[in-house]
């Protein structure tokens, strides 16, 4: 699976704050609708991925940015959510249920995580079912 999406239909660079969760979700939801992917599943997965980045990537440092890219490829919708934070680390102070990654794994047909000291990228693929009526 590719780590980045070349020539994405959607490319958002957002601040690493809570307001970016709905921003990213609504933008990707529109693309999911256009390509016939499950809007509910894509929206939830993107929301979880961006929320994870906002909550975990910038702890102990100035909030950076979250990049959301998406594109249809070969009958699938590819969505990438990346941040320029400090990489994946357990956060015992998290406000969530700790089910974000588990949810993403259940919602996407395929998912991969790449984490380095300069950020984390989640790449998800979703099945499309043709153009909606």
């Amino acid at each position: 699976m590719e780590d980045n999406i070349l020539t994405p239909d959607l490319d958002l660079l957002l601040p690493g704050d809570a307001g970016s969760v709905s921003e990213a979700r609504n933008a990707v939801r529109l693309l999911a609708r256009e390509v016939g992917a499950s809007e509910d599943d894509v929206s939830l997965a993107v929301s979880e991925a961006v929320a994870n980045a906002v909550l975990h990537a910038f702890r102990g440092r100035t909030a950076g940015t979250v990049r959301v890219q998406a594109a249809p490829r070969n009958g699938m919708l590819l969505v990438s959510v990346g941040d320029d934070g400090g990489g994946m680390a357990h956060n015992s102070q998290s406000r969530g249920l700790g089910v974000g990654i588990s949810l993403i794994s259940r919602l996407a047909n395929e998912v991969s995580f790449r984490s380095t000291g300069s950020g984390t990228t989640v790449l998800m693929t979703f099945e499309t079912f043709g153009q909606p009526a």
Partner: protein, 131 residues
């Protein structure tokens, strides 16, 4: 788009509070409207926190007006259920995105979940000792 710009308006979310039932079967009804995610989960938590440890009345959280919720919102609802206790119930729209979240996380097994407000009110309206 560069960081800092907003292509979509932020989600608008609100909670409307009302009361129903008689003095002995009083129920606080909280109707949530709008999408729930990390940006407004605290607002929902604040609305629910006023009923922590409620013993004099039931509490029903109606999520039928919530077209989307992620695990940030679900964490708030589960926390409230734990703090409020047995006189708490949740109403969701059958087949909606919240229903999907509940299914994926098996939340229905721990949260008293209804698809009808009247049934939810009936389930929490009677004082525990007489239920």
């Amino acid at each position: 788009m560069t960081a800092g710009e907003r292509g979509f308006p932020p989600s608008s979310f609100r909670v409307e509070l009302s009361e129903t039932g008689s003095e002995r079967t009083r129920v606080h009804l909280l109707e949530a409207v709008g999408e729930v995610d990390l940006s407004c989960a605290d607002e929902l938590a604040e609305s629910l926190s006023q009923f922590d440890g409620a013993t004099d009345a039931g509490v029903v959280l109606d999520l039928q007006g919530v077209p989307f919720m992620d695990s940030s919102g679900l964490a708030v609802v589960m926390g409230a259920a734990e703090r409020i206790g047995p006189r708490f119930a949740v109403v969701i729209a059958e087949g909606g995105a919240v229903d999907r979240l509940f299914e994926l996380t098996e939340a229905r097994s721990t949260l008293p979940t209804f698809i009808d407000v009247g049934e939810a009110i009936g389930s929490v309206g009677a004082p525990a000792a007489e239920a």
